[in-house]
Structures are given as C-alpha cells and as structure tokens.
Amino acid sequence: MTSAPTDLLPPRFADWFAARGWTPRPHQVALLEKAGERRSVLLIAPTGAGKTLAGFLPSLVEIAARGRHKPGTRRRGIHTLYISPLKALAVDIERNLEKPISEMGLAITVETRTGDTPSHKRQRQKLAPPDILLTTPEQLALLIAADDASTFFEDLKTVVLDELHALVTSKRGDLLALGLARLRSIAPAIRTVGLSATVAEPDDLRGWLVPQRPGEPPALADLVTVAGGARPEIRILDTEERVPWAGHSARYAIGEVMKEIAAHRMTLIFVNTRSQAEMLFAELWNHNDDALPIALHHGSLDASRRRKVEAAMAAGSLRAVVATSTLDLGIDWGDVDLVVHVGAPKGASRLAQRIGRANHRMDEPSRAVLVPANRFEVMECKAALDANYLGAQDTPPIRDGALDVLAQHVLGRAVSGPFRPLDFHAEIVSAYPYRGLDWETFERVVDFVATGGYALRSYERYAKIRLTADGTWRLTHPRFAQQYRLNVGTIIEAPLMKVRLGGKVRGTGPVMGGRILGEIEEYFCETMAPGDTFLFAGEVLRYEGIRENEVIVSRSRDTEAKIPIYAGGKFPLSTFLAEGVRRMLGDPETWKRLPTQVAEWLEIQQLKSVLPKFDELLVETFPRGNRFYMVAYPFEGRLAHQTLGMLLTRRLDRMGAKPIGFVATDYCVAVWGLEDLGHLFAVKRPSVHQLFDEDMLGDDLDAWMADSYLLKRTFRACALISGLVEKKHPGEEKSGRQVTVSTDLIYDVLRTHEPDHILMRATWADAAGGLLDIARLSQMLSRISGHIVHKRLDVISPLAVPVMLEIGRERVAGGEGEEELLREAADDLIADAMQ
C-alpha cells in the first residue's frame, strides 16, 4: 500500500519539492495514492497542514501527464472542478495554485467562474475550458443546467470540495449534493476529494462524497486524517475587572484587550455579530491612546472597504482587526500571532476554526484568548477549554435534503434537457442528503414544479414541465429556463439597504450624493426617525431618511449612538458545550478552577437555592414586585428555549395560571405572570412535571407554530428557493418588502386551504430543525422527565439574575443608552439576590 513518494511524484514534481528542501507530507502522498486507485477521499486536516496543495496535487500530476493540447485535435474539457463556499476563496486558491504551476513550468490552465465573472469570459470558458475550474455551488447548478453540460463535463475526472464541513449543513449543501449526483450521471468516472476541518462525525462527510444506494448501509469515501499540529495555547482572559452578570458587550475587558494588542504583532479579534463588532471597535478606539492601527471587518461593510482592510492585513500594516464570521473561512491573510475571541464560543467547531486563524504554520502553537462577556459565558469558555478544543468538534448533523431545494433542482434538470422520472429519482437518491427520498414525495415535488401541485388543478394548461408521450418530462417553454437561471441558488438574505453618506437640506428631506458605506438589514432602519444616531462602519452616523431603497446618513459629532443595537449571540449554545456547563454546575469540585468571582456566585446560589446535578432540570419560582416568576435552566440554547418559553406560556394560560410573558437566553428561560406558580406546583395544579411533560410537543406546538411569524419567515425562504415566487424577473427586481408581504399572504391562504401542501411540509421541516430547534427541545424534555427539581424561593436567586436582566430587552440589548438603565436595574436585583 505505501509507496515511496518518488514512485508517485513525476520527476518534475519531485525536483520542485526537493528544490525547496521539502518532502511531500504523508497526507499529500496518501492523496496521491488514492488518486492512483481512483478512490474518493475525505481529507481532514487542521489549518496550515497544506490541505489545498494536497487536494490539488494529484490533479496537477494527472493533467501534466496528459500533455499540451495539440492543434487540430479535439479540445479537452475540464479535468478538475473545485467548489468552495466563498467566491473569495476561489480567487485565493487561483493565486495559490499559480505559484507551483509556473515554478514547475506546467502547461495547466486554472480559472475561476463566479457570479462576478464577465459574460465574455464565461462564453470563452465554454469554448475553451480550463484544466481546472474554480467555482461555487450556484455556478455549478447553472453549468449543469446548460444544454451543453454533457460535453462541457465529459472529461471531468476529479471534483475537489473545499471547506466541506461548512458546506454540507446548509441548503447550499443540498443543492451541491444534487449537482454532484448530476455530474456523476454525466461523467460516471469522477471521484471526489473533500477537504475539511476536524469534525465530530466524519462518516457523514464521507457518505456525502460518494453515491449512495437506498436500502443499503451508507457507502463511505476513504478517510485521510492529519493529526493536529502543535496544540493551541488558549486561555481565558484573566481579568482584574468585575465580570458582568448579563449582557454581551464585554466592555469591562476593553483595557485588557488593548494591552494584548500592544503586546502582539497582529491580533485578530472575533465577535459573534456585526453590532458587537461595531461596538467593540468603537470602544477600542476610545482606549487606543497610542493610536495603534486597528481596523474593522464585517460582511455589511462595502466590499471596497473590506478589500482595503484585507490588503492592509496582508501587508502587515495593521495591529488588530475586529471581525465577524466573514473572516471565518479558510482565507489566509497576514501574520496573525494572537486571536482574541469575545463572547462565548457557542460551538467548539467555530472556536477551533477561528483559532486556526492564528499562525498558519502548523508546527507552531496558535495563541488565543477567550473573553467571556458575562458569568455564564465564563463557564461556557471553561467548558470549551476542558473539551480539549479540537478534540470534540460539533458541526451539526446533516439533515434530510430540503424539498424546496429539490424543487429548484427538478426545474434545473428539465432546463438541461428531457428526463425520465425513474432514472432521475435514482440519481437523486444517490445524493447523501436525499438517500431517503421516497417515490411519492419525489412525484409531489415534480408535480409542484409542473403546476404548483395543488389539489385544485388550476394550472394544468400552464404547466412549466410536462410528461410527454415518450415518457420524459420536458420544459414547455424556453422562458422558464431563463426564469430558472435568474433564480438559482439557496441564499436568501434578509432584505438589505445600502447606507449612503449624504446630508440634509432644510425642508427637502435627505439628499443623496455621498459614497456608500455598506449595507444594513432593513429591519434595523424600521423604527429609526430622522436625527437618531447609530453605530456603523466604525463611526456614529445620523439617520436622515430613506431615498429609493437607500438609507441616507450623515456623520454625527456625537460620540455615543442613541439607537441601541441588537447584541445577542446569533449562534445558539451547542449541545456539547451545554453539557459541559451542566456538568460544571453539578460538580462543586470544578468551581475551584473558575475565576473567584464566578465561583462565589455559584456558592451563594447553593446557599440561597440549589444547583442542579448534571442530569437534573432546576426550576425556581419566586415573587418579585407584583409578579410571580418561574425560571428553568435547561442549557439547551436560545432557540430551543424560545420555543420552550412559547409552549410553557401557552400551557400555563390553558391551565389558568395567567402567564404574562417570558424571556429566553442561551442558558435558561423565565416565565412570569399574575399567579404564584410555586403555590400552583405545590398543590399540583399543575405539578411541575405535568407542565414540562413531553406532550407539549403535540397539540400545543402545532397550534403555536401555525401562527408563528417564524413560520412565515421560513415559508418565504422556501417559496423563493422552490420557485413559487421569484427573486428576480427578467427586467425587474423585486424589493424585499414586496416579497415579504406577498409570501405572508400566500402562507395564510395556503395554510387555510391546503395545509399539507408540499411547500408547507418543507416549511415545517425547516422551522422544526432550524429556528425552533425542536429536536433539541424534545431530547431535553425526555432527558429531564422525572428529574425536575423545583425550588420555591422568597426572593430571586443569584443564578436567576442574568435572565431577569434580559426582561424587557430581549429584542434590543446591549446598546449605549440602555446600558445605564440596566446597570441601575442590575444593582437592585443583585442586592436582593445576595442578601
């Protein structure tokens, strides 16, 4: 099995390695071997392991061997297709491949094809394809829907899928899986190479890479794993300051973060949301007495501003960059020697990915500092550290393929040419996420694409695709092909508005004319009135008004913004870290390793109330003001808790307990009302066990979900992806607003008249898995059944303080003006709890 590297590497390649004093790394050799055996393979390696070169090396060798194209012979098609989740990554890879190719003098052409590729280049690529094409899942969908797809891909040998762990858990992954299945039908000999960061369940990814046979155990690609390099050095910021009870700003630590920046060459500061990035950036500059060059990078900033920051990073002229997930994926810039992560890591995978940013040389340890923003986050950070960082990654499991994506793919299939339903179904179920797709569901999706799939057959004569006499489904009109091309893809952005610098002329309202600063979610502008100030692009801006879908702003002289910004975490606590925190709470021995102030907090909690054991759910009830509160601590993440809060309120209402409201955090949920729940539990009207019974996931859930705005939002995405409504028409662009309104109305009508329509099914599946996190809630309810500890208290407990601070600000939090008010409220609450 093992061959000497020289057997696998042609002289030119071996010389190239030797000239640099390198020898091919074992995993690079392993991938060459797999290529020789025509095996598909998953390569799992930490950042800096030379993953990209390993993935491409076999292709470079093979293409070099087939020699130059001789004039007069048939042009050869694409040999290797590379697909990445980010356009920028494709461009980056093109640059990285150029070097070995030119240094070895190989006659290999590499080109990118993204949404930005000009049409003349696209056409030229069709006529004269490069040897290696670098592209995105959406572009692949377009390529396979073209009528020349079979000639374009007939020479295809290898598909390289980068950042596979990030791709497969989304609808983009579903679209790509279907595209890959199509490619296999066109070019049956292709093999796949998946490149991934460390993941908990590599078998999901291995199955994803190769064709499946329904009814058989999953087929798996081979696996090559590179052990982690030097262990990263991660510590929790050792602070002299008081860590707050609640909130997400980590403002207490600004001075200490500044010291870290000063002590390192280049620091990357990661936060979880854009608004946190803005806030932190502004605070850092307030403390930046030495005027160190610190920049801001997030997805809402204008692309040219982002490029400038990236260039400055690469040039080493920055000392720190505050960034969000836009910098998450494997783009390699500059000489970062420290990563600061503000806020809780939420998922160990994200943490590992981000820490991989520091120091791309595998043999040196990466250095990272975690800065928890509140006390629960201290425990969460500790749990992440205890988990041995990279050892326990927790990428979410791959869900069943989405039906709206399938509908899009069905139309795309018809666009590329007629199809036989049996063959097409067989092709689809070979894709890993769709391996369980039954024939009836498939037929319903095809029917949906053809005529809307309604019980009332109103659209038979307008069918987009039709089953013809020869047993194939065919597109009925070429204009549907054009519609398909304009609507391809699964990324539904929140409606965005451009932020433009302008001014105000008295009496005429906002005037335009300045430059664009970036984009902002429409909902953020919704309640602003002219004159309000907010933080964006690192400065305080004054809102002037809206003109033609642009937000017009001017620079403000204020140093504090008036409009608070949402600062909650976007990503829920992962199951894995939640377990870690629960374990820590239940085991006082572990508290010694926590900062003193946090340990004290837990000790007082134990005195005043109780701390739940690992497998228990603690439910506290207490009066406060003229209300009665119940706080439950499941530690299952904000989404699951929101759903739980909604269901508990519904149930309590039905049981006559008069609930008024609830609030959910990543760690717990608080419900309040006019009746003493502690007393009701005591007399078993209802008992706490009845209240938390699993049956709440039955009727209560159904009734609530049907009305939920979350479901409407999910429906909108499904309607757009499935093609029920269009993102764009030829010659017209719909604004987000119009789409929102119409899909809400459609949802109401469809729900009333055909609640089991295939699109409603897609919507429920989405919502249950995503926004509502029902699977997790369901696991929790069954876990705690019989293990609920109810503690009836006279006053609020220390553990309950953080969630109580969230009451009334769950929607907008952590902003400037509010922080003062909260601090006042906080002191009041804390005094009670600690007495």
Binding site: S458, Y462, T527, L750, R811
Partner: protein, 229 residues
C-alpha cells in the same frame, strides 16, 4: 371625530370602520368594500407563477362573514373587484355560486375599477362608475387634491408604526375626517404605505389618521406617528 358609540364622522355621515376592512354606514344599512381582486392568484399562471389558487374563496369567506355580521341592505364594491377581464372565466363554479348568492341577497353595486372596467355579467349586482348617497360619493380611484365626502379604494393603503423597537405594518383605512380611502379587502392584495408619494396632497397630514387593522378591532394612529417603509 370619534363618537362614543364608535362611529366616526365623515363629512356629516356617521360610519364605522370595521376590522374586516369594510366600511359600515348603519343609518343607510350600507356596507362598502374595496379592491377584492378576485382571481388575482391565478392571474399569473401563464407566466409560470403558480400561486395557491385559493384567494377567491378566502376573500369570499371574509365577505360572507362581514355581511352576515352587519346585515346590510346594500353593498358597494369599490372597484377592482375582479383582478382582470378574464377573471370571470377562471372562477370555479362553487365560487361563482357564492358570489351570486351574495349579490342576490342585497342590493349589490359593482363600481368599475381600472382592473375591471366592465365587471362580468351573470354574477348579479349592478355595474356603475360612481355612486352618491347623501353627503358621500363612492368611487374607485381617489380624486387628486383635497376631496370632501369621498369614499375610495384603489391605493390599498397600509400604515407602519414603530412600537418599542418593533415596526408594525398593517392594512389601514386612511382618513382626515373629510374623505376616506379603504384598505384592499382581497386575500392577495399587498399594501401601499400611506406616506407614499401616491397619496400626496390628499390628506391633511396633521389631521390624518390611519385606522390600522388588528385582531378584531381597528387602531387609530395619528399621522405624525407613522413611518414610511
């Protein structure tokens, strides 16, 4: 403008703005609805947009409910009752019968609109361009500038207001006491913000009130409180 019994005075007539989106004039036993847009859902089928073809029956259900509840003797549909000239041909037989039953039970007037300049025959009711009753004039498209006693539709008004960091957008009646524009009644009819340019000059902004439709009641919101989209 608002009286104790929930009636508002519109240029001398005491009317009620119903949460269904209909205007009720008890003294005349008159009910007014605007912009039903029957068969809007199926109107784009030939372009491959297969919206759920159930909007007509949804709209009819709401219409039957309000007629039952308020038992008017006369109903005025303020135009754009049918989404296009071919809408009649796309109605299902059951829906056709439901429309006939409605028009047979009361004195029914179809005001013509830009979508239905010639409302279909054979569904009962009488087609007219404009109707005047007492101090009020009923027509499809609101006239330019200030008007007194005009009840119109056409613009599909909706209103938006910010409350505690959340924006609420609802269908709304819009009135300044002199005239009133009704929200669209149809199930698939979107809304146009009352602060849009299309309403320019029609209302006194200070006296303007948007009666936003909530769950079984309408909420009057003063003009200065409203926000654009």
């Amino acid at each position: 403008m608002l009286t104790r019994d929930g009636l508002i005075h519109l240029s001398g007539a005491a009317v009620r703005l119903d949460w269904s989106g209909a205007l009720h004039w008890p003294e005349e036993e008159l009910l007014v609805v605007a912009d039903l847009h029957f068969e809007k859902g199926t109107s784009q089928g030939m372009r491959g947009r297969f919206l759920p073809p159930y909007d007509t029956r949804t709209t009819l259900g709401a219409l039957e409910e309000v007629v039952r509840r308020l038992s008017p003797k006369r109903v005025i549909a303020l135009g754009d009752s049918f989404h296009d000239r071919a809408a009649d041909g796309r109605l299902m037989e059951g829906e056709r019968n439901r429309i006939r039953a409605l028009t047979a039970a009361v004195d029914w007037l179809w005001i013509t609109g830009n979508h239905d300049p010639e409302p279909p025959e054979g569904l009962g009711g009488q087609s007219v361009d404009i109707v005047a009753i007492g101090p009020l004039v009923f027509r499809h498209e609101p006239g330019r500038g200030r008007q007194t006693g005009e009840i119109a539709g056409h613009l599909h008004p909706c209103a938006r207001v910010g409350v505690r960091g959340r924006a609420l957008r609802r269908r709304a009646f819009v009135s300044d006491g002199a005239r009133c524009i009704l929200p669209a009644f149809g199930a698939y009819t979107g809304g146009l913000n009352v602060l849009d340019d299309a309403y320019r000059g029609m209302f006194d902004r200070v006296r303007m009130i948007a009666w936003m439709i909530g769950d079984q009641r309408v909420y009057p919101v003063r003009g200065p409180m409203l926000v654009p989209d």
